[in-house]
Symmetry: C2
Subunit: 162 residues, 2 copies
DNA sequence: TATTGTTATACTCTATAACTATA
DNA sequence: TATAGTTATAGAGTATAACAATA
């Protein structure tokens, strides 16, 4: 970001444009605003988690398995709004890392019930602290009232059908 | 979504869990709320654009090239907050489709100035109508006041440094 | 027939690193 | 040395389709 006055004078064309870019209609699009905000927040998670053992996605999956013992993969995929084929490899990685275990349901042997492994609790708690810290840094930019208002508006955007 | 009463009675385990899933801390995370909202909105764009010739990303790039004649790839990448290597293939596709053209800058032959092709105007206008329609459907879930408030809160979230 | 879960495949988006050409 | 742009590569995340096992 630091730049000498000389450098400023002979700045390349790209930078000149960078300072006076016309974004046309984009900033007026709710979809664009939400997308940019999401990218910004995820970038911060990546930066602060570094070579951490979880992505926001895989940590969320682990958290839901922990909170919902015996949940099936289809139910989990549905909860996150993704396809079951998207969930499969995520589950597989958590299982091979020993963080969860799978049990075939006797009542319906097509289903795999998922369980959080008790011995994974320290790893989970440590990860949760990291996620809470990043999240707190993001949320701190808004007052409590604003946080509630944002949650309400985002819920409203999600609520309606396409 | 339609389901007979009989089906409801003998619903599989996955569905039972689906109705009473405990999301633990996730709904309280701003990052999670924004992510879910973004996924929902993008899903609607995909569904309504169908086999359309643009993704939200590529259309945004075209819109900015049109609004900023002569902009370079690095400036464009910077405007969207992505790496120049991410922008390269997007630019290449727009060029091969004849929607834009590139000119090497005589003043700095490393730079490629990008220009919207006038003959692409009908395609652009048609695409913009589609995007405006989807966007209008999304924005319609909020009042004008709420739209402004959301924009303000999202900007505030993006504003601070990590 | 329908559902659960896996796998093969594909596409988008993203980045890093190494490279060429220029400055 | 530094920057613009390309390319090779990699990884996450997403989906569809076909499949085996089970219902």
């Amino acid at each position: 970001m630091k730049r000498s006055r000389a450098a400023l004078k002979r700045r390349p064309a790209g930078e000149a444009a960078e300072r006076e870019i016309d974004f046309d209609e984009l900033p007026g699009y709710v979809g664009y605003q939400v997308r940019r905000t999401q990218a910004k927040i995820f970038g911060e998670f990546e930066a602060m988690l570094g070579d951490f053992e979880f992505t926001p996605g895989s940590f969320g999956v682990l958290m839901l398995i922990r909170a919902n013992p015996g949940i099936t993969q289809v139910a989990l995929a549905s909860a996150f709004g993704v396809d079951k084929s998207t969930m499969s490899p995520v589950i597989y990685r958590l299982e091979t890392r020993g963080l969860i275990r799978r049990e075939v349901l006797p009542s319906d042997r097509r289903c795999h019930a998922l369980f959080f492994e008790p011995k994974a609790e320290p790893v989970f708690v440590a990860a949760r602290e990291k996620f809470r810290a990043v999240e707190a840094g993001v949320a701190a930019r808004l007052s409590k009232t604003e946080q509630r208002e944002l949650a309400r508006l985002l819920a409203k955007l999600q609520g309606a059908q396409a």
